[in-house]
Symmetry: C2
């Protein structure tokens, strides 16, 4: 059993705390530790640290090593350029399969919040068993608690396996991010879950799927496999990646494959997609504020205030704001605008005088 | 002709840009220069720099010297402790009168905005002539442009002198800060002006007034006068100041004296009493924002944003806020709350962990 942690990311939604070279998984926003650190901690007891692989950008590898020095350096799988999750997972699969053929691989994002470690590990163990015995592609679905329009949804069919405390469902279809009415319909209907981006499968099953649904990528991966541990390895990876399509594993494989199963996560999960996600995770004060800062305020309500323990933030007569302060930049916005942060960061990155702040 | 610049101040209303040891007159808020610097510049051509005296706190003297090094150090008149304007002006009067008996003195705050230097100097010249010829106490009144409840008002009587382009009025009464209805009545009535805190008089006239209306202060001043330029000078000043009442020149003298005249200022004036004063002085952008910062924003309206040219402030979907950022602190408040800043700063100064930010 191997785990691949997907730790790329562009660090846009949590700007200015996150940066191009310091994406969300490095931030201590859901606890006093970075989300990546928590992700590794959450796996302890389930797998050896030697069995955890980090899929990331070359320029982030050293940061990551500083945060989780226990993961061996040879377990870093660095993409020469960002080509989305299909290529990243493909590369990790080839790499692991070369040394440990027939492994079962758990794919996990590095920047999600998960509350109950024990239940999480139980669910993973069940998924690994089902993946091994069925040769299916397993994905984790999250039972929706609100009609969220920010997630893709998975429509579940019949329970196909009642041998475990958490049964697997067959998957009828994957649904793109819906509009509000559709999301409400999904929520009422009951057999729709959020697509969490956590997967479990054997190397054989996923390589078969690559061959069938993404033959070009598969061809590239085979080239790389041949070159692994030879002097041509890195050159081959660079050459192959240049030509690869930029496509997610969801679009490239999951939506097309006919052997996908879904497990409903029994643990509390949040993808922490934006600052207001913290309202679901952290305990607000008596005026419904989330404060992670050296703060003094009056008549301050429904706000999220994140800062530096050395710098004082004083607020007076404010409501419904997100305030995020770092050493060199501060963001002050109405909560309703948080989906626009990504766009603002793009604009700043194109501005000659401001791009250094991205 | 001598000028006394009153440059004490507690630096509360412009926190966090102003601090206990860095009050408003040091801030470049109405231009790119400090208000004190502008105050001195505005006098050039009217008086020699040798004739300008600085009344201030000992702990501010070196800052001031850095800002306006042209003022001779022997022209600093330092109060050993803050005893409001009556004592400060008394001390400066004694000091000047000892060396230049019978001088005419212009008293000016160091932290007011005045637009037209030439008209300002013309008005001062007229005031000096009237003060010399009448032995009256001259004060400058500002013609109200709105029913402001933040100023004291002066009720004007008859014009007593038509020899100058700007005639002097007799003063019927001084009025405390009014409520809104009273302020509206004053504005409609037409013969009420704002009390600006700018005065012109001869040393003889003001010393007579001290003797008559503040005999205790006068006695102390006489003690100091005797000690000036002796080895006892500083000890005497400290000893006398300890016992002095803390009272303003308005309460102590102006409201009681029967020889007060008022000149209506013909120049544009603002006391820059709070951040929103900047809206009357600086040109707002197309969304009615005043920006003195490295700023990038969307849907940002009616706000005042002041920062550091090295630190980026991004705002998104905000309205009617005051944002003031310094190296170690930031204030974010609704404009309607700006009268509460003083109170907040007091609270912070009493907080063990936060007092260093005051």
């Amino acid at each position: 059993m191997k785990v691949v942690i997907i730790a790329g990311g562009k660090g846009e939604r949590f700007w200015p705390l996150s940066r191009k070279n310091y994406p969300k998984q490095f931030l201590p926003i859901t606890s006093s530790n970075s989300m990546l650190y928590e992700t590794i901690e959450r796996l302890k007891g389930l797998v050896d640290l030697d069995d955890i692989y980090i899929s990331t950008r070359i320029d982030l590898a050293l940061y990551i090593h500083k945060i989780v020095p226990e993961i061996p350096l040879q377990n870093y799988i660095c993409e020469p350029q960002p080509k989305d999750t299909a290529a990243a997972i493909g590369l990790a699969t080839i790499y692991i399969n070369k040394n440990f053929p027939g492994s079962t691989i758990i794919i996990l994002p590095s920047d999600h919040f998960i509350k109950e470690k024990e239940i999480f590990q139980e669910d993973l163990e069940i998924a690994v068993k089902i993946a091994k015995t069925t040769s299916c592609l397993l994905t984790f679905g999250i039972t929706p608690t609100r009609p969220d329009t920010g997630y893709g949804y998975i429509e579940l069919g019949e329970i196909i396996n009642k041998n475990y405390s958490n049964p697997a469902y067959e998957v009828k279809s994957f649904k793109e991010k819906p509009d509000l009415n559709t999301a409400k319909f999904y929520l009422e209907k009951g057999n729709f879950v959020w697509n969490s981006g956590m997967f479990v499968w054997t190397t054989n099953a996923i390589l078969e799927a690559f061959e069938k649904y993404m033959p070009e990528l598969y061809k590239g991966l085979m080239e790389i496999e041949e070159a692994i541990d030879t002097k041509d390895q890195n050159e081959t990876i660079i050459k192959v990646f240049e030509k690869l399509p930029k496509i997610s594993i969801d679009y490239g494989i999951m939506e097309k494959a006919d052997n996908v199963l879904c497990l409903k996560a029994r643990f509390t999960w949040d993808d922490v997609g934006a600052w207001t996600s913290l309202e679901r995770i952290l305990k607000p004060n008596e005026n419904n504020n989330i404060i992670k800062a050296l703060w003094y305020g009056k008549e301050t309500k429904n706000s999220i205030i994140v800062g530096n323990p050395e710098k004082l933030i004083v607020t007076l007569g404010i409501n419904n704001l997100v305030i995020v302060q770092t050493d060199d930049a501060i963001l002050i916005m109405d909560k309703s605008k948080e989906q626009e942060v990504k766009k603002i960061v793009e604009e700043i990155s194109k501005n000659e005088n401001l791009s250094k702040f991205v």
